[in-house]
């Protein structure tokens, strides 16, 4: 009786194996289709990293931004696709005990400044105006390519902002601010011109969640380090450098990103879990209602890395190498090409030779006139006309 039983068992085992294989094949087929459906349709990645503070005691904001810059570069986005806006006054600051370095971890473990930082907007160029120009694409015609955001409708853009903020605004370099309404409008203009496919907005400031409240354009996902009314806290001071080196939220985000490599499948839900209240003291928030795909299916590398879609080339065309070279390429007519010269940055000739402009005099406007008339009338009514001779 043992033999038939074993045969039966064996047959059953083989049948199960075959079914299993079929199942696996089917599953992979279905999985392929599912993969395709949930994949993002982007072909390139851009990153706009902005640090909006200056001065030595805001070291941590610069370190934040530079650490994100490093991660983004490590995961594959090239410098030509990163717009980095920094005040860049840390590395060569006279108060820096280790010049030409910016550290992100105490005990000076990691120098995020390094040798190949490419800062596109530095110092006083980091203004609200320039930031909005970069986003909307309305840059002056002589802006170099590295300072432009040349994204198209198949670009995924990562925007990271850090600095000091409040309820509904973000402070730029201690002199101006950008409101959440302006930011939402800028994103809407980007959407109108299809300058992005999907956008991830991360902000690490106090009351950061207020900045993403007003977004109304589709395909935007936003993350913030703290809710309205809460402050984002910094992580750890370094005793030798004397300032706080990083902010908590960015520190834990970076720890998370260290685990991510270009082929990893970590998705956005994991990123949302980074830095719970116990570690961060503030409550990080996120906003996904404008985003079309489910965050579960969005890979972190869709925004932080640059994983390209590739296709195998299966076609070739056949060329005939024996055709005579096209002699129709006549020697290029010697066009009198103008000698090349640099574009005029400043109209020097005009400045030197200009005469002082006649400024037209305009009579004062209605409101001012009315106000003055009111004041004068009241004055004379109160004090009486007869006093005029004492005044004049």
């Amino acid at each position: 009786m043992a033999a038939p039983v074993s045969v039966v068992c064996w047959v059953r085992a083989v049948a199960a194996l075959i079914l299993g294989c079929c199942g696996v094949a089917l599953a992979t087929g279905v999985q392929d289709k599912a993969e395709q459906f949930f994949r993002s349709g982007h072909t390139n990645n851009w990153a706009v990293l902005v640090c909006t503070s200056r001065f030595w005691f805001n070291y941590r904001h610069v370190a934040n931004t530079l650490s994100v810059y490093r991660s983004v570069k490590r995961l594959g986005i090239p410098d030509s696709h990163i717009v980095l806006m920094l005040a860049d006054d840390m590395a060569c600051n006279p108060r820096n005990p280790k010049p030409a370095t910016v550290f992100s971890h105490k005990n000076m473990e990691l120098n995020v400044y390094g040798d190949d930082v490419e800062v596109d907007y530095r110092n006083y160029e980091v203004t609200v105006e320039n930031f909005l120009r970069v986003l909307t694409g309305r840059v002056p015609p002589n802006t170099p390519r590295s300072k432009r955001l040349l994204s198209d409708d198949r670009s995924n853009i990562l925007i990271y902002m850090t600095g000091h903020g409040g309820n509904g605004f973000l402070k730029f370099q201690d002199s101006e601010e950008i409101t959440n309404v302006e930011l939402a409008d800028a994103f809407e203009q980007m959407w109108q011109k299809r300058r992005y496919n999907e956008l991830l907005f991360i902000i690490d400031t106090c009351q950061g969640a207020s900045m993403y409240e007003r977004f109304y354009s589709p395909n935007i996902m936003a993350l913030a380090s703290s809710q309205i009314g809460e402050d984002s806290l910094s992580h750890q001071p370094d005793l030798e450098i004397g300032v706080h080196l990083m902010d908590r939220y960015t520190f834990y985000v970076l720890e998370f990103l260290e685990e991510v490599h270009p082929a990893s499948q970590t998705n956005m839900n994991d990123l949302f879990q980074v830095c719970p209240k116990s570690l961060c003291v503030s409550t990080p928030g996120h906003r996904t209602d404008l985003f079309q795909r489910d965050p579960q299916n969005v890979l972190v590398t869709d925004f932080f890395g640059s994983v390209r879609k590739v296709e195998i080339t299966t076609e070739t065309i056949s060329l005939d190498s024996n055709l005579a070279t096209f002699e129709s390429k006549l020697p290029q007519d010697e066009l009198a090409t103008e000698p090349l010269k640099y574009a005029e940055q400043l109209p020097v000739a005009q400045i030197i030779h200009q005469k002082p402009k006649q400024k037209d005099w305009h009579p004062p406007g209605g409101f001012i006139l009315g106000l003055w008339a009111l004041i004068i009338m009241v004055f004379f009514k109160t004090y009486g006309i007869k006093h005029m001779k004492h005044i004049f």
Binding site: G41, I77, D185, L319
Partner: protein
């Protein structure tokens, strides 16, 4: 509402006239197809078909030995304007078309169709031909994808290069192991011989500029696996996406211009990793050993044979076979532009292209797609500009921005009317200029709106300024009013 007109001429050679023609030759017919892109935009494709019988010269040409000769002979006899199609109907028993093939699509703008089956089959054939040679419903919707609701499209639809004024093409040779391989490629000659004719044909579409470079010690980001069976190194399909990024940083994608850049890389693997083959998803080796990335460019791996004697002096001199390389690169260039030869019914035969790289009707297809895309761009840009100005009332429009807007509108209207009349070239040029003008107007630096004053900020600024000043004024005003009223009440004291 957009109307696309395609002038088609159907020429019947003797013996091929179907028996059920409604009217005697020559006569005209119009076929229209509606396609609705979204709620407000509809595209009508209108085919103006002229049926006529062939002239003696055409008959002589059609009696040629092969389809290719007939095609070449027919070229000077047909309407060579862009967008027009000519269909020659040959008798059923004609030997011009090979056996089993009933439709032959030539290199220029003509096709040969085998007669038979009456008018209905002829109509189907003509419809299939126009789908192949002009535009299809899907290409129309793809061109208008910006305006169509998003959910309709899989994300893979818009992968082709967007219509742009110019493109930069960069050919790069990557040599990671200069100690072993001394690679030389005669790129200038190859470009002049093989690439330039294609670019000349495409010069209608955009300006192209070509450059080349050689990069040493540039490695791929991925370590290939050694496969014992074939004793070669393999790059699997899912590691290919990670190859591009480490290289891209060193390519120096043109810092000079703002045009999209197409990179074509030729990688000569190191001696220790030779030979290197690319595997596709199923594990089979790819014959071309190349892959491409939409909107970016292509990479080809060029294997160098191991030297015959192991003591051969290093570095080995390698002269790259540019023909093989250019065959792949030009095919990739066509794919990047979206000119792939799609699945056709088996009775169709497409003429192979040879050195020209591009058939005239493929150029037409590109032009149709780009024209529609440009018109769509113009309308979305100007609409969003108008919405912007509605929302933010205090932006000042400079004169030159206004003139660009007017120009864009006028040119777009020209393009639409030319499309309706079937003049593809004029329509394309008008649409190109319209798109440029509209982009210039939209991206003008002066249109930046910076000052947003929420109401509470306005109060916060003006109240501390005006309230203290206003208090004595208001009090004095009330005093004046009270006095005047009092004086009116009591009669004036006149002594």
């Amino acid at each position: 509402q957009l109307q696309l007109t395609v002038p088609v001429a159907v020429v019947f050679s003797p013996g091929s006239v179907p028996w059920d023609l409604p009217k005697p030759l020559p006569f005209r017919d119009v076929q229209e197809m509606e396609l609705s892109v979204n709620l407000r935009t509809g595209v009508t494709s209108r085919y103006e078909i002229v049926y006529r019988s062939s002239t003696a010269q055409e008959e002589a040409a059609l009696n040629g030995a092969t389809a290719r000769e007939a095609d070449a002979a027919l070229r000077p006899l047909q309407d060579a304007s862009l967008g027009a199609l000519t269909v020659y109907v040959v008798p059923e028993a004609s030997s011009v078309l090979p056996q089993g093939i009933s439709v032959y699509v030539g290199k220029h703008r003509s096709a040969l169709v085998r007669a038979g089956g009456g008018l209905a089959t002829l109509h189907t054939r003509i419809q299939q031909l126009t789908q192949v040679m002009s535009f299809t419903a899907s290409s129309i919707t793809a061109a208008f994808s910006d305006r169509a609701p998003n959910s309709q499209f899989s994300p893979d639809v818009r992968r082709h290069l967007k219509s742009s004024l110019g493109y930069e093409i960069t050919f790069s040779l990557l040599n990671p192991d200069p100690k072993s391989h001394d690679v030389n490629w005669d790129i200038e000659d190859a470009v002049n011989r093989y690439v330039q004719p294609v670019l000349d044909k495409l010069s209608l579409v955009a300006n192209f500029s070509v450059d080349s470079q050689i990069l040493y010690y540039a490695v791929l980001g991925v370590t290939p696996r050694f496969d014992k069976e074939s004793s070669s190194f393999l790059l699997s399909a899912h590691s290919l996406p990670h190859v591009i990024n480490p290289v891209e940083a060193r390519l120096g994608s043109s810092a000079a211009s703002l045009n999209p850049v197409l990179n074509f890389l030729l990688y000569v693997p190191e001696r220790s990793h030779s030979p290197l083959y690319i595997q596709d998803k199923d594990g089979a080796s790819v014959s071309t050993n190349a892959f491409h990335s939409p909107r970016w460019g292509g990479i080809m791996v060029y294997n160098v044979e191991a030297p015959v004697s192991p003591q051969a002096a290093l570095p080995l001199r390698v002269d790259v076979d540019m023909v093989r390389v250019m065959e792949v690169f030009l095919a990739q260039l066509r794919l990047l532009f979206g000119l792939s030869r799609e699945e056709l019914p088996p009775e169709f035969l497409l003429e192979s292209l040879g050195n020209e790289g591009l058939a005239d009707w493929e150029l037409d297809r590109l032009l149709w797609a780009h024209t529609m895309e440009n018109i769509a761009t113009v309308s979305t840009t100007l609409t969003s500009l108008a919405q912007l100005l509605d929302k933010i009332g205090n932006i000042v429009i400079k004169d030159d921005v206004a003139s660009e807007v007017y120009r864009a509108v006028a040119l777009a209207q020209t393009a639409v009317s030319e499309l309706a009349m079937g003049h593809l070239q004029l329509a394309f040029q008008a649409s190109k200029e319209a798109a440029t003008s509209s982009e210039r107007a939209f991206f003008d630096p002066s249109l930046l709106h910076l000052l947003y004053f929420p109401d509470d900020q306005k109060f916060a600024i003006y109240i501390p300024l005006f309230l203290p000043m206003a208090v004595p004024i208001l009090l004095s005003l009330t005093k004046i009013i009270r006095e005047t009223r009092q004086r009116k009440k009591e009669p004036t004291k006149m002594d």
